[in-house]
């Protein structure tokens, strides 16, 4: 019985010695194709949005200029694909969930913040995308002076539309992601209600009128 066991060990030894040097790159490549766990194909998204109620207050701190800021510890920063708020523009008939990231799941269920921009309250540009035939169809009625409300778990933010414009899809001057003041940019495909993939985008520019900034920590 011992000889078959020796044969078995010998077979693996021979295969290892003969094949491993030449198949090492393929084994390494196979390592990239397999993971430690089974892939999750779920299209469900995580919702971390808990609206701040009318009579509720969010914990704040006072900054060096004496202004109140939302304490950074109470802010749960959303991960890509999370629903973390909602947006409404009553004059345009828009009211829908707000996601972090503008991937397919987000845009099928609401509108999404471009991952390279800032969350409301952070003091930068918040760039939000939505489809012109679904949640952002109402943007065709957008006009200066209208109010936009974004609700998040750490506070509510109100913006007033300053301007609207139609620009080319690849025009990167249409928004300024490096702005050092709180502003909101919404965009969708243009023209509205047309069939086909368009090369133009409709932009809505808005400025913050109400809402508490998020406290900046050393890590930020």
């Amino acid at each position: 019985m011992i000889l078959p066991i020796i044969f078995c060990l010998g077979i693996f030894l021979v295969i290892y010695a003969a094949l491993v040097p030449s198949v090492r790159p393929f084994v390494a490549a196979a390592g990239m194709v397999f993971s430690d766990s089974e892939k999750d194909y779920s299209t469900e998204y995580k919702n971390i949005f808990v609206p701040v109620k009318e009579n509720e207050t969010v914990e704040t701190v006072t900054n060096a200029e004496g202004e109140a800021e939302v304490k950074s510890e109470v802010v749960e920063y959303p991960n890509y694909g999370n629903q973390f708020g909602d947006i409404s523009i009553p004059d345009c008939g828009i009211e829908c969930p707000l996601f972090m990231g503008d991937g397919d799941v987000a845009l099928n269920n609401g509108v999404g913040i471009y991952y390279g921009s800032f969350v409301p309250g952070y003091g930068g540009t918040t760039l939000i995308a939505g489809h012109n035939n679904t949640y952002f169809n109402g943007l065709k009625n957008a006009a200066p002076g209208q109010e936009i409300t974004i609700r998040t778990s750490y506070g509510n933010y109100k913006y007033t539309i300053r301007d609207t414009a139609v620009k080319e899809a690849l025009d990167t001057t249409a928004y300024d992601l490096s702005a050092d003041y709180e502003n909101l940019v919404l965009y969708t495909c243009y023209p509205f209600d047309e069939i086909g993939l368009t090369s133009k985008r409709f932009f809505v520019y808005a400025d913050l009128t109400e809402g508490v900034s998020i406290e900046k920590t050393a890590a930020d």
Binding site: P4, G10, N133, T134, C189
Partner: protein
């Protein structure tokens, strides 16, 4: 020391080495046959696809992707029910695999899909009296066509084409050579031993060695769950890979069973002949 025991010892070592080589060949040939059956056989691919409901799942996947495109271009989800169906997906997949296995590294033929898309779009536009711009529509169809073709492609197939064709051509030769060498060893063992029961002893060693090696491989395959941890973007293709992994694991166990029975039979013959030779002495 006398000359005869030395010669006998040498023969024992030689036959044991031959027996080991036979075990190695049996193991390698089993793996080559498995690869040949499961990787280089188009019909097995199609069977695995049917068994894992690939065409229906793939149709749903393509529709979901096109619905996302529709959201961006003013087309409702129901529109895509008219554009993609599992028969078309099945035909295009089979043509793609046919061409690939026959040595042509063609991309997916999207002609039928494109025609259907344009026809249905024309009907929809007339039905809804919708606004269209030809260049925007062409761009939409081009994107839809790209999504359709990319969804039906098997990942890495295009890049691995040269290796695939080379291996497909060489594998039957390798199997034939290993089989011929195995047969030669079997004959050497049979005719090299005056007492035939010894030949069956070496066959038993070889079959048992191959069995143990294969069972070790089967246990590893079963323990890791076949191809369950493979990372594929398409769920439909993942299901095919898992089905295929399970079939390979089952086939490995079947081969193990075959070698277990063969080893047992060889051992039985060896013992029977051994006792017969003792009684004849």
């Amino acid at each position: 020391m006398s000359k005869k025991p030395l010669s006998k010892k040498f023969r024992d070592v030689l036959f044991s080495v031959l027996s080991f080589i036979l075990a190695l060949f049996l193991f390698l040939n089993s793996l080559c046959i498995l690869i040949s059956v499961f990787v280089f056989n188009k019909n097995v691919w199609l069977d695995q696809m049917n068994a894992s409901n690939y065409y229906s799942d793939k149709t749903d996947e393509i529709k979901n992707k096109l619905v996302n495109l529709g959201n961006a271009s003013g087309l409702p989800a129901e529109f895509f029910d008219r554009v993609v169906d599992s028969i078309q997906v099945s035909n295009d997949t089979e043509n793609y695999l046919d061409a690939y296995f026959n040595g042509s590294n063609d991309l997916i033929d999207t002609t039928a899909f494109k025609q259907t898309f344009y026809t249905q779009l024309d009907e929809y536009v007339k039905e809804k009296n919708a606004k269209i711009d030809d260049s925007n529509v062409d761009y939409l169809v081009k994107n839809a066509e790209h999504i359709y073709a990319r969804s039906l492609e098997i990942p890495l197939f295009y890049r691995l084409f040269a290796y695939f064709q080379a291996l497909k051509g060489w594998l039957p030769v390798v199997i034939a050579v290993i089989s011929a060498l195995s047969l030669a060893i079997v004959l050497i063992l049979l005719f090299g031993n005056k007492w035939k029961h010894r030949a069956f002893k070496y066959y038993y060693y070889a079959c048992a060695g191959a069995f143990l090696s294969l069972i070790a491989s089967s246990i590893i395959m079963t323990a890791v769950g076949g191809l369950r941890k493979i990372v594929l973007e398409s769920r439909a293709l993942y299901n095919v890979a898992v089905t295929c992994g399970t079939s390979v694991t089952v086939a490995l166990w079947v081969i193990c069973g075959f070698f277990f029975i063969t080893a047992f039979v060889m051992f039985f013959i060896y013992r029977t002949m051994f006792f017969k030779s003792l009684s004849s002495d």
